[in-house]
Symmetry: C5
Subunit: 310 residues, 5 copies
């Protein structure tokens, strides 16, 4: 049952963002007061950018209903998600039809699997704050690749979009995915790297930060020394999640975790339990939701929300 | 006989674009309610950018009437095309003289065969939304080369032009032609690549997407796995076209197919039949039309339209 | 004797540009109704950018009067030229003193012989439409190097300047000089390349196109095939000029030819006769004019105009 | 006890900045009239950008209170610092809550330890003058790396931000840290390099310049000749500091020194004594302050201020 | 004794700039009617950018009064110079204090000796026309390096700044110093190169051009041919200066010469005599002035002015 009165927890969360203007606070409030988890301070978000990132067949052939942009709006609404995130095309296709029924997050940059780019990882900017405003979105989304040689271009674009979004009363959601010459492939989800990724997104002004679940690995030698000296625990997933959340302004920024690659229901739920136990603010589940038949997806999302609600 | 009343099919198509403003819907309506195919939801468009792309002699010497910009306006009008697309110079040469007689599409970027560029494929931006508005165009056209290392510059330019075009009530037509280090020469028209190209254009906000007829080939290994697992049929041209159209938001974006290289009349018509059978929204025929003597070209275009009208 | 009444030929030429606004048409009219050739539809223009391009001594030591910017204004006026073209400094030096006495063309980009640039040929932008308007110019001039790897930057800058110039009622003159990795040194003036250069300038929106007199050579193999199949004649200079003029929208764009390197009077006049016979709209004569003593230059220009007037 | 009346020394310092507008002078006055050292013309500033620069665990695990953005505001206020400097995220997290309680300096560019960048050292621009104004900051901060191959981009960005900041009544603080192919690793803090770094920041329009304490080393051979000929003393820290302060417009620009790497209390205080003796305007102490337990940090900062106050 | 009535010579000089607006003419008038040489049409300017270009010790240790920005204002005023030129920091430090006492020239770009840049020579833009206006300057100054591979960026920046400066009533002073892959080290001051440098600056719209005294050397083979054919004399310094002045629009642009490296008094004066004899408009003396004790500097400048006044 969605809550209609602003809960003390939501008020507490909003208090961390009091430098923001009322428009942004209202949209943050919308995100926190929508869906099954309304009022709990937890969020489950449906993101669908895989069509762009991996191509249509790899994304939607398993559950062909997903070729249709309406499907994802309806899935997110029926499942009681807090928000639906997608690139311009998918959002625009349903923005008028489903106007007001669910908060939307316009993903402002995207990558595909066709180009090699021949350089440092960097996504293309495919949307704008102005378009997000026109389409009635509650938030913008932007992916940075810390550890990329093209870091500066990404941080600078994000800084500009963030300032513009805040001036327009929007919420800023940052996907912070270390990638590039500064980390090993394995180290991309090392616990020190994930914590650092959360810190960078927070310092860049993100309201909501999305990272990948961290592994029991410390990548950087200088960091390793500190983790050992200070005995920072990172053996279990809850410990690692707790460290990442602490790294985002001592838990005063909303940090949510991705579900990662498509996998079995039990594996998904077990991971979510660990993430929840570590103090995460929620999950963002894409392929694990929309590639299942709708009934299964609704069941899975309900189970995930149950974990967060307790 | 052109239809004058908006048909249910046209209304249905317009309903997929309801996030657009009335100006853009009106221009989309103009494109769908013009010419022989008015009201059918199908389009046949005459594009003439070959003078820029391949040089004047290679484009027009075969039918020298085509050196003259007036010729193409008149050909498109007499043939009952839905629209005429060309670069700035050709459009401007007839924009006042033929004002209102046929919807025009200003091709905003172009390439020539003189430069090697010494880098990733990317066309030059040679027009603007402001010029399109000044010249009374119904739409802008823009070519992207997914799979090019210069992908980001192209997607970002298109994203900006698209937002500006929509704000000015114009329709956005995207030529989506994979090319560059991310695909093999042969794979440029592979079915997975063509479907991906359609998806990218749709996600970037295109109203109308132009791709090349796809071949019975799957380029990417990760895609191949999915095509086999999910048994996606692609043996025949109609099957491949159906898959590409589905990949453009489950058929909720207008996808049209190019005629490709100049060839014999029978070959053209047979290909069109396959494309039509696959559920395509129409064809865009350049060299196959304007390099024939006018009478032959009118006959060919009439035959093509007959296929789509039935 | 200059014509004062707009002649039918001038009206015909203006009719090809009817998408332009009255300000631009008026300036085009000024160019066509000034000087000895007023009303004939032919133009002889004096360009003096050699000081920038080759240095002062190489340009002016032979006839030292040319060091002085006033000299060129006076030469163009006395000779009855249609216009005088130069970079910012030279135009500005006389713009107030000779205001209204001769239409001027502000050359907006320039190159020098000092820098090697270490890359693809591209001139520096040294002026602006705003400066052209301030200085009372009738037109802007811009040089593109099709076949340069830096083609895109040049076409895009020209597209923007062209739109801005047209919005300000100015005429756009494009020097289209293929150069770079896309053509051999010899092929820069091949007939297919010159025709292609004229086509590109026309498609980019030029009102007046300047090319070099073409040689009896076809550079590109794909073009060669067409020239042979279609039996396009290019053995004589008039044939080649006719082909280039046709390539500029079937003669509906003004194409003029440069005089090339300084040479003897007879050689100049013979070339002009060939150019005229091919249907060219005129000539642009720099070094062959200002490097001669004034009396000789006036005589030569008068002889050239006589050829075009008949 | 903070001074409330503007002291003669503060008036003298302000007189060096009389080309600035009253808004900027008022903010400079705020910086000089805040905290324990108010009115002395000396400053002790707390900077906390290490979370961004070195990652959260390496910065805050030693004293975990520092994960929380509130902690640093409170530390700076309780310690009686003149100002608190941090990146956007940290400033924004407390800007409303601690509004008016301490002058803040928005650090406009930042670097992290994740990216290798694959090129010349240059930080990312992560904030703006507009954001500084919105957040009620007294100043902007910007880091330049003289000796970097990317020098021009940094000087040009700083020049633009400086002009904009001055137009908005803000103070400009420049971190001038030579780094890159133009200096050896050891030479980064050579006395000639530090003096040159201060001069560059002053010429670029900085109001307050932060450099590192210089070493008894002259890096450049051309400089070495002059230091020997003119017998410039640089054997002791006070001599070197005096030379650096002189190099900033003969002491007419505020020059402060960083505390450098975390070290023992005695070592910190001894260095500060030398810096003070050389005529420095103050210190900027980060890790040496916030990585200690709060009581210890307050004691250390009080001891440092005592040195400057006498 | 400064002249107060505009002299015929000053009126003549102003007549060459009549395309400029009254604001610019008034500032040019200020430059020509200030100081000892007021009314003579000659200028002696004090430039102090060496602190930025070579570092503080190398610039000011010899005469430590020069560390202080006030010193240079006072030196220029007492010496009766026509103007004082410096980067932003130095100008801003005295702009209010010495407001109106001497025309100032804001040097808009600067280089330092710390960075290697790893590419073509190009200075950083460190000021703006807006800042020049705010600081009450009479002119902007800008350095170009013709022969640099980065020529285009420099010419284009200068073209924009020049147009903006003229629109704001400022005078444009261009330092034209050939440097880079297009000339040999020795050829940087060859007579053909210096003349070409003056021509380029003039064509780019400079009001005042600063070049280095040319050597008896012709660098470019194509130029050498012309110098020999036309028997251009360049054996003596006056001959070379005359040729350079002629190359700047036949002497209709103000050309002044730098003093070059610090040297003995006799050497300086002898060079000035040669420069004056060649028809130069004056000198710009930096190190040779401010590195001497003040009394000596005043004596030297007075002697230089005496040469120009006769």
């Amino acid at each position: 049952m969605p809550e209609h009165r602003t809960t003390p927890r939501v008020k507490e969360i909003l208090s961390w963002y009091q430098s923001d203007n009322p428009g942004t606070l209202a949209n943050l409030h919308r995100l926190l007061m929508t869906g099954t988890l309304a009022g709990t301070g937890k969020l489950v978000i449906l993101p669908v950018d895989q069509g762009f990132e991996h191509g249509p067949a790899r994304s939607f052939a398993k559950n062909p209903a997903g070729y249709d942009p309406d499907y994802h709006f309806e899935l997110a609404i029926e499942a009681g998600c807090n928000a639906y995130a997608a690139p311009l095309g998918f959002i625009e296709a349903g923005a008028a039809k489903y106007a007001g029924q669910i908060p939307t997050i316009l993903k402002l940059n995207n990558s595909d699997s066709l180009s090699k780019l021949g350089g440092a990882p960097i996504s293309a900017i495919t949307g704008s704050v102005k378009e997000a405003v026109r389409l009635g979105c509650a938030a913008i989304g932007y992916t940075i690749y810390p550890a990329s040689d093209a870091r500066n271009a990404q941080y600078e674009a994000l800084a500009e979009l963030t300032a513009e979004a805040k001036a327009h009363g929007l919420v800023v959601v940052v996907w912070s995915y270390p990638r590039g010459t500064g980390v090993s492939k394995d180290g991309e989800t090392a616990v020190d790297i994930a914590a650092y990724a959360a810190q960078i997104a927070a310092q860049l002004g993100a309201h909501i930060i999305k990272v990948k679940p961290p592994k029991a690995l410390v990548e950087h030698p200088e960091a390793k020394k500190v983790y050992e000296e200070q005995k920072i625990p990172y053996g279990t997933l809850p410990e690692r999640v707790r460290h990442v959340v602490q790294s985002a302004f001592n838990g005063k920024r909303i940090v949510i975790f991705s579900g990662g690659e498509a996998k079995g229901t039990d594996a998904v739920l077990e991971e979510i339990r660990g993430i929840k136990e570590g103090g995460a603010f929620g999950s963002i589940l894409g392929r694990n939701a929309f590639q299942r038949p709708k009934a299964e997806a609704l069941k899975l999302l309900a189970d995930v929300m149950k974990i967060y609600a307790t």
